[in-house]
Amino acid sequence: MPARTILQYPHPLLKLPCSPVELIDQEVRDLLVDLVETMRQGPGSVGVAAPQIGVSLRLCVVDVSMSKLGKESNHGLLHLINPEIVEARGAATMREGCMSIPAYTGDVERPTRITLRYSDGGGNPRELAVEGFEAVAIQHEIDHLNGILFLDRITSVKTGLFRRKNYR
């Protein structure tokens, strides 16, 4: 399956909460493949959520294993269906960028350690404790499933929004 086009804000789908996945069928499995392909194609991208490719369903993929910040601690490629954060602790600020809002980055504060419940690509319920950059990436993608963009989370007006220059 091909990589899909990433929708960019102001596409209305990006601000819409997604519906839960009721049944993990071939369509959903194909969608996961497309999400991974799309993520691999994005420059330095470590995650893509279904609404970013035009599907308003609660699923996303994350893989920080090849990024500078995530390669030390990660769970490899994660297929997250109906993900839910059940516990969150700590706080750290990171300068986030998003393929749906090109050319800008902003400082966002998020919990550093989360516990996650979700179904994997085979439909098995899972619970996972995640920390560091992987936790940030997962929260960013779950935000997409709730129609939230990093622009909604920037807290400092004075230095909160920056022109994107480069990525690691």
């Binding site: 986030e96 960028g97 998003c98 220059k165 690691r168």
Partner: protein
């Protein structure tokens, strides 16, 4: 072929509600686009630095005329400079982005010495804010800047290069990586 006109506009005025609206209205009525801006309160004055464009060739005189009217009516002082095509070409920096924080007992020369040192190491400042905090009796100077290190220089190396300055100025200097991430 017709080229867009680009201008750098700076506006400063004793603070009051409406300075941004007055300035933006002038630009809107002339059909100018606000390309980039940084505006803030500096002491009791509100300062705006803008780059604006016009889709067609456009005379700086028209901008100046409108701002003169704004000055006469509302006391807003503006300065306009035409930007050359060379100035509009801004390639992305390649080095590491970092946050450098400097603070210590206020004394003359903190900004000068720190930024001169950074310039000598080819560190490029992208954003800088300074403020005097603390009490009147013992004022503390705080400077926060974001800068791109030259290609190949690490944050640790940059930190080491500023060690001498810490002692000379008796200030705290911290260098932290910012590392923008693509999600």
């Amino acid at each position: 072929m017709l080229h867009r006109a680009h201008f750098a506009v700076t506006v400063i005025s004793k603070d009051r509600p409406g300075i941004v609206a007055d300035t933006a209205e002038v630009l809107y009525r002339l059909g100018c686009n606000l390309e980039d801006s940084s505006c803030t309160l500096l002491g009791g004055d509100f300062a705006m630095i803008l780059t604006v464009s016009h889709p067609k060739p456009f005379s700086k005189v028209r901008l100046l005329d409108e701002f003169r009217r704004l000055h006469d009516e509302k006391g807003v002082v503006a300065h306009v400079r035409t930007l050359s095509p060379e100035e509009l070409d801004n390639p992305s920096p390649v080095g590491e982005l970092c946050l450098i924080s400097v603070y210590g007992a206020d004394r003359p020369g903190i900004v000068y010495r720190v930024t001169r040192e950074l310039a000598e190491f080819q560190v490029s400042i992208a954003d800088l804010n300074t403020r005097v905090v603390g009490s009147k009796e013992s004022p503390v100077y705080v400077m926060m800047l974001e800068a791109y290190l030259p290609e190949g220089m690490t944050v640790g190396e940059a930190d080491g290069l500023l060690a001498g300055l810490r002692l000379e100025l008796n200030v705290e200097i911290g260098v932290k990586a910012i590392t923008p991430v693509s999600l």
